[in-house]
């Protein structure tokens, strides 16, 4: 259950009825309709005012949902193991020529503008570095940080909603060695308070180590 859903429930169950009752006490429109019995005026008014609020909230909810975007990022070693609940481990050492690869499956859906403005980043430790191909239009690598940008993956059109996905193979190479090296990595979303509510980002993490038994 998301925070937005909880807020909506509080509004609908507590705030909307409270405001309806307050407004009814200040001004009951149905007191001017003469065919409604006097003892039923409050109930009729409450039902009607609640219905108005329900419609307003539904309308607001639709506007907010149209603004929402969903980003899913799943790391996996093998296609058969692709699962957001898994934490795959890749090994970088002399036996692998100090290189390892992980696949990243990105799925995007929802508000196009919000998706185009979204960015993920993954800062690497000093003992690892990575690389991206010149032809990659999603992933960039700068100052030992990987950045995912989606503006080139999505069409530049006015349609409010869209879905897209891509799979990227990300290589890593070891830059230093110790007896044991291990790190768990996961990208984070570059976001402000507004994006926190409107962009739903889900990812798993992956481990990089230099020994297979860690």
């Amino acid at each position: 259950m998301t925070l937005l859903t909880v807020i909506w429930m509080i509004f609908k169950v507590i705030i909307a009825p409270s405001i309806s009752i307050y407004l009814l006490n200040e001004f009951n429109l149905f007191s001017y309709i003469t065919f409604i019995p006097e003892d039923k005026m409050f109930e009729v008014g409450l039902t009607a005012y609640l219905a108005v609020f329900e419609t307003l909230f539904s309308f607001l909810e639709k506007i907010i949902r149209n603004q929402q975007a969903y980003i899913s990022c799943v790391f996996y070693k093998d296609k058969t193991e692709e699962n957001i609940n898994n934490t795959p481990t890749i090994i970088c050492n002399a036996s692998t020529s100090h290189v390892a690869n992980i696949c990243c499956h990105i799925e995007l859906s929802g508000n196009l503008n919000r998706l185009r403005k979204s960015q993920l980043s993954l800062k690497l430790p000093d003992w690892l570095s990575s690389q991206v191909l010149a032809t990659d239009n999603v992933l960039k690598y700068n100052e030992n940080t990987l950045y995912w940008n989606f503006d080139k993956l999505l069409p530049n059109e006015k349609n409010n909603k869209h879905t897209a996905d891509c799979v990227i193979a990300i290589p890593f190479i070891q830059c230093a060695d110790q007896e044991r090296l291990q790190i768990t990595l996961a990208p984070k979303q570059e976001k402000n308070w507004c994006k926190k509510f409107l962009v739903n980002f889900k990812t798993n993490s992956f481990k990089v180590c230099n020994k297979g038994d860690l």
């Binding site: 070693k77 191909l133 193979a169 060695d177």
Partner: protein
């Protein structure tokens, strides 16, 4: 014939690819990396995509043959299958299409290329490229090969 080893590094600020002589056996691998990092360079990774691109370049434009391909996974059946295609490739360069398709398919299955050995048809000189950016060739062809390799890899890396 003496073998010379080199390693490719990329300038972090301008993206230029540099080849650095690597005295394998005499020089510590990580000391070399640390030295280049201090100079503002990071390692180049010759991914399967880049290996495929390099193979096409050497085969078609540089009159070379592929001698062998080593993969990240040890699989005898795969090795045999690739050996057959490589043998056919020596007779007819059109088999490059089959080999390329196979390598692309393996890449999607997360089976990556670790090393490729090539041979220049006219001189018989052998050179190799490793996934971690290390390469080796004979002394005679080292300079030209290093330059060619750097230029081609620079086009591939973003």
């Amino acid at each position: 014939m003496n073998k010379r080893f080199g390693k490719l590094f990329r300038n972090i600020s301008d993206g230029q690819i540099e080849n650095v002589v690597y005295n394998i056996g005499k020089e510590n691998y990580y000391d070399l990396i640390k030295r280049e990092q201090v100079r503002g360079f990071c390692q180049c990774i010759i991914t399967s995509d880049i290996m495929i691109s390099l193979s096409e370049y050497f085969l078609i434009f540089n009159n070379c043959d592929i001698i062998s391909i080593e993969f990240s996974d040890d699989d005898e059946d795969l090795e045999q299958e690739i050996s057959v295609i490589i043998r056919n490739l020596k007779e007819n360069k059109a088999y490059w299409v089959s080999l390329k398709d196979k390598l692309e398919y393996l890449k999607e299955d997360s089976i990556n290329i670790k090393k490729i050995d090539y041979k220049k048809i006219d001189t018989g000189e052998i050179f190799s490229i490793y996934v971690n950016g290390i390469y080796c060739s004979s002394d005679d062809m080292y300079e030209k090969f290093s330059l060619d390799l750097s230029k081609h890899v620079a086009r591939c890396i973003g």
